[in-house]
Amino acid sequence: MCGTCGCSDTANAVKITDLSTGATQTMRKGSILNTLEADYDHHSHEHHAHDHHDHDEEHHQHDGDGQPHMHGPTGEIISLETAILQKNDQIAERNRGWFEGRGVLALNLVSSPGAGKTTLLEATIKALKNDVGISVIEGDQMTTNDAERIRDAGAKAIQINTGAGCHLEADMISDAVKTLDPDTGSILFIENVGNLVCPAMFDLGEHMKVAIISTTEGEDKPLKYPHMFQASELVIVNKMDLAPHVDFDEKVCLENIKSVNPNADILLLSAKSNDGMAQWLNYLKNQLNG
């Protein structure tokens, strides 16, 4: 289903649609990761030192040979310390610098399909559009339905159709923001493809990930998909208006979130009834000013 898995259909290209002009451009075929072999830049490659890891073997270098290595019993041991997702991570860091330089608060919204990401964004745009500039990158496999909803709510929107892909990658964001051109002091919401698995792995350069779950999904989503909840700084529990009708146990849900990510901020709200929305809007304003 996704390019990174190596099982993508190359006919399913990534498409970016600008809702203000209706112009659609095809970005690339297949995944960034599968293109790595072809366009790997031999000259600009730097050995990547990862924060989590120290290496203390003795390395030496021969003239004209940039690689630290040492001689083993028969051959050579070549130390790489190369992050396997380095290409995505490099573009993500460039995006992060661009957002910081411009003073744009970029938030990566992740959830399962149907948790209410787009409805939450519509309500957020309607509440904030006179105070704060808002632009949205919508990620879905197909259709421009969500970007149309965002545009109708009053914000600039770009739709990325990932085709076979199951998540957004950093280069898609890099391309989309060039067209979207978010203003200084504005918020950029990146609505990831509805999926609680793969988006956890791909840094887009966002300030933080926000995970959204809804009361209709059951209290145990954080336990079933812990990586996503560990990667998110804020967890929003949406559709609280439905909680009494679906036997939602708020206490158990909060315990489950805290058990996988004790540091997560948690907000309970209903984007439909507006309950709890004020706290979310305040949270956004604090992030923007912080």
């Binding site: 190596g6 790595l36 051959g75 050579e76 070549i78 790489l80 396997i84 698995v197």
Partner: protein, 80 residues
């Protein structure tokens, strides 16, 4: 979840750095939060390595912290 594509990346990076030398071992550092299923990596490795400089190489997976996901080093059969 993306282990086949990740394995292709690993082989592509190693192939570039091996400069034609035959590779007999590839060592990865993988942390518990890397979202990587190491058994699936091992399963994919032999298949992806076939026909490359890393054919028949062994894959060593070293425990690491956090979300570390690196090619730590690889070993060639003879000096370059």
């Amino acid at each position: 979840m993306h282990e086949l594509g990740l394995t292709k990346n690993i082989i592509a990076i190693v192939t570039e750095h091996a400069k034609g030398c035959k590779v007999k071992r590839v060592s990865l550092s993988v942390g518990p939060q890397a979202c990587v299923e190491t058994r699936a990596l091992e399963f994919c490795f032999d298949i992806v390595a076939a026909g490359t400089v890393a054919e028949n190489a062994t894959l060593e997976i070293l425990p690491a912290s956090g979300d570390t996901f690196l090619i730590k080093e690889f070993e060639t059969e003879e000096a370059a």
